[in-house]
């Protein structure tokens, strides 16, 4: 062993949702964490590194799961990781205020091969509910190390890591109490175990596989059928005879848990009415809850735009004024085309887009707060009544809300919807939610086009998008999805004070994705638009881009768009929605940078055509990044379906708007 650097200890972090597992992970790893995907899966994987008293530790955050069945992708990932990768220790975080329900996952973990340490989190919440848990007594009953924690206040985390390392150094000492199944099924389990003995390939423990078979686990069933057909022949009839054993096994686990916690937990006789119950009287009420939801969302948008607007204006002025000016003087010795390329093309295009950053930061900060305090689950609950009519799920409303920030997290966020049809429908509809990029374009153009009516027009445009979303949802659900209904089951977590770290990380992850886009795709498009609009020379009117725009003028004529520059602006918005402004900035600047841009743009269109232009812009095909993640999540077919759907909706609704208003 000498001379070799010691292998890092691998700790897998397990736990049910809403137990503060991410807080534990974030506290332990800080910014030393990597967010990726589980190999070949669309489930997010977070890993991190830390050093504790000279020992290097690799932390793997398992998906939050209620149990370890094969019924959801998250649960399969968690159990496959433990079975195949054999982490040195599994640290399981449980919520002390809801210990019995949380120990259900522990009952499943204890029959897997890795040793387990329990982090008994939210001791403060439990105490405030009058629940008293004695960690030593629980430890004695389960014969598993139990460490009390208040992760939100950074209490108990180092002792938790200590306990994990002690166990990793001496795994042989781990001999936990194991859940037993109810007496009537014991001989059956023993018979299955006997038939399986020695027949299964590694890494599957025989007893665990036998239990899973009796529970009706389809994954283990096909494994046995393929690798041990002769054993399967004997086992299959037994399983058919005891098809309902799974209910008994689940009930049995909770009976075992009740015995384990009996001496360790003291609760007040009469249940305490908690703050959560008081708030939920309003927050989950069909009418009051809806009013609250609308109020909360209106406040979020109002705060976002009030707080961000001055910053956006300041950034915009700085970029189009000082930064572009500085670039011009720095390049005064260079050829004139290079100076124009940098000042008008790059800074006038991509630079202007960067000025929207404050909107994104504020929006995600507010959404992060709503998520962290526990209100998001209530939003899903209140919205379920409406979502149901669209063939959607209450949970669908969460990614759709995120879509107001950016459609990319919305598409990724559909992962929380476990029903495939509801998920696909949400994926198709998500780009109809106007993202900050599109709202920023409208915020920029509407005042120039409509002066004092701008606010009215903006609210109307957002309402139109949502109306189109509802109509398209109902129609698609009837036609393509045959009116399927989906199951709604969701835990409502306790409300708690927001954690700045968690919210900060949420904002950072979303903003980082935007910055990456702004510094790559949008820069390239800005440069490309500038080049195409100046090539092959003789003025912008004779450029390649002008030619392409003119070619599409007949389509533009349906909605009164008689200027090729607007058609090109729409086309480039496919690459990124902010490009509408970037492109108009390049095409209308003619050496003046971004200053006074809005006025010059407004002068080029009639008010009616301007309205139609904004309608099309709001409903136009999803940006290329959204299409790319849709393909990654659901395949080419659905990504293309989304493009076609939005293309036809935007042209259709744009034309109707123009034609209807021009007949008034």
């Amino acid at each position: 062993m000498t001379g070799q650097p010691p292998r890092p200890v691998t700790i897998a972090l397990a736990g049910q949702p809403n137990v503060g597992k991410s807080t534990v992970f974030n506290r332990l790893t800080g910014l030393n964490q990597h967010v990726g995907n589980w190999p070949g899966k669309t489930v997010e994987q977070r890993t991190g590194e830390m050093v504790h008293q000279g020992t290097a530790i690799r932390l793997v955050d398992l998906p939050g799961t209620y149990g370890l069945t094969a019924n959801s992708e998250e649960e399969r990932i968690a159990r496959d990781y433990i079975l195949r990768e054999r982490p040195d220790v599994v640290v399981a975080i449980v919520n002390a205020a809801a210990l019995e329900r949380n120990l259900y996952l522990i009952a499943e973990l204890l029959v897997l091969p890795s040793p387990v340490v329990i982090g008994l989190n939210m001791m403060d919440v439990a105490a405030s509910h009058g629940v008293h848990v004695e960690p030593e007594v629980l430890e004695a009953a389960l014969k598993v190390p139990v460490v009390p924690l208040i992760a939100s206040r950074n209490q108990g985390l180092l002792p938790l890591v200590d306990a994990a390392l002690r166990l990793a150094a001496n795994p042989g000492a781990f001999a936990p109490a194991r859940p037993e199944i109810r007496p009537p099924h014991r001989p059956i389990l023993a018979a299955i175990t006997a038939r399986l003995a020695g027949k299964l390939p590694p890494p599957y423990p025989t007893e665990w596989a036998a239990l899973k078979l009796l529970e009706g686990d389809t994954e283990i069933a096909s494994l046995v059928r393929e690798t041990a057909p002769e054993a399967w022949e004997g086992i299959h009839p037994v399983l058919l005879q005891h098809e309902d054993a799974y209910l008994d096994i689940a009930g049995g686990r909770y009976e075992w848990i009740a015995r384990m916690v009996r001496a360790a937990v003291a609760r007040p006789r009469a249940g305490v009415i908690t703050v959560t119950d008081h708030i939920d009287k309003v927050a989950t009420h069909p009418l009051l809850g809806l009013a609250l939801l609308l109020g909360v969302l209106a406040t979020v948008f109002w705060l976002t735009y009030t707080a961000a607007s001055p910053l956006v204006n300041l950034l915009g002025k700085t970029i189009s004024g000082s930064v572009a000016g500085a670039a011009r003087s720095a390049l005064s010795a260079a050829p004139a085309w290079l100076s124009a390329f940098v000042a008008d093309g790059l800074i006038g295009g991509a630079g202007m887009v960067l000025s929207f950053l404050p909107i994104l930061v504020f929006f995600f900060a507010f959404m992060g707060v709503l998520e962290d305090v526990g209100y998001m689950a209530r939003m899903a609950y209140v919205m379920d009544r409406f979502m149901h009519r669209l063939g959607l799920h209450g949970k669908s409303s969460l990614p759709l809300f995120l879509g107001f920030g950016c459609n990319i997290p919305a598409v990724l966020g559909t992962r929380i919807i476990d029903d495939r049809r509801a998920r696909l429908l949400t994926l198709l509809l998500a780009p109809l939610v106007p993202c900050t990029a599109r709202l920023a374009v409208v915020t920029f153009l509407a005042p120039a086009f409509f002066g004092e009516l701008a606010t009215l027009v903006m609210v109307g445009l957002v309402a139109l998008n949502l109306l189109v979303l509802v109509v398209a949802g109902v129609a698609l659900n009837r036609l393509a999805f045959k009116g399927a209904k989906t199951a709604f089951i969701m835990e409502m977590p306790l409300y708690h004070a927001p954690n700045l770290r968690t919210i900060g990380l949420f904002v950072w992850n979303n903003v980082a994705a935007f910055l990456k886009k702004a510094s790559t795709v949008i820069v390239v498009v800005s440069a490309g638009v500038w080049v195409l609009s100046h090539w092959p020379g003789h003025g912008m009117d004779h450029s390649v881009l002008a030619g392409l725009g003119r070619m599409l003028m007949p389509v533009g004529a349906w909605m009164g768009l008689d200027d090729w520059r607007f058609i090109v602006a729409l086309l480039t918005s496919f690459v990124a929605k902010e490009n509408t402004i970037a492109t108009l900035g390049v095409l209308f600047s003619a050496g003046e940078g971004g200053a006074g841009l809005a006025g010059r743009v407004a002068a080029a269109l009639s008010p009616l055509a301007a309205l139609a232009f904004l309608v099309v812009q709001m409903l136009f095909v999803p940006c290329v990044a959204t299409v790319a993640v849709t393909r990654q999540e659901a395949g080419w077919k659905w990504a293309l379906a989304g493009v076609v759907l939005l293309l036809s909706l935007s042209l259709g609704v744009g034309t109707i708007t123009y034609q209807a208003f021009s007949r008034l």
């Binding site: 209620y66 019995e100 209910l247 199951a487 835990e491």
Partner: protein, 79 residues
């Protein structure tokens, strides 16, 4: 007497005895505490839309369709 959880009014309670609707649904319900033997209290049931229940010191929201698959035992005359 067994009746579907969806028939219980706000404030009524029962003990889960049966889970219908297949193994997949049952496994999800069991993971959230709605397993045979569990005491469940309906917090809000407005008759339309999902209801909220309290089970094992947690709160769970479930659609009426899913609640109809959970059969509970209630004692007559008990609030």
């Amino acid at each position: 007497m067994l009746k579907p959880l969806s028939d219980l009014k706000s404030g009524e309670r029962g003990i889960v005895r049966e889970l219908q609707g297949g193994r997949r649904l049952a496994a999800r319900l069991a993971g959230l505490g709605l397993a045979p033997g569990a005491l469940v209290v309906v917090m809000h049931n407005y008759g339309r839309g999902p209801l909220t229940v309290s089970v094992m010191h947690t709160r769970v929201a479930l659609g009426l369709g899913q609640a109809a698959r959970v059969l509970v035992e209630t004692r007559e005359g008990e609030p």
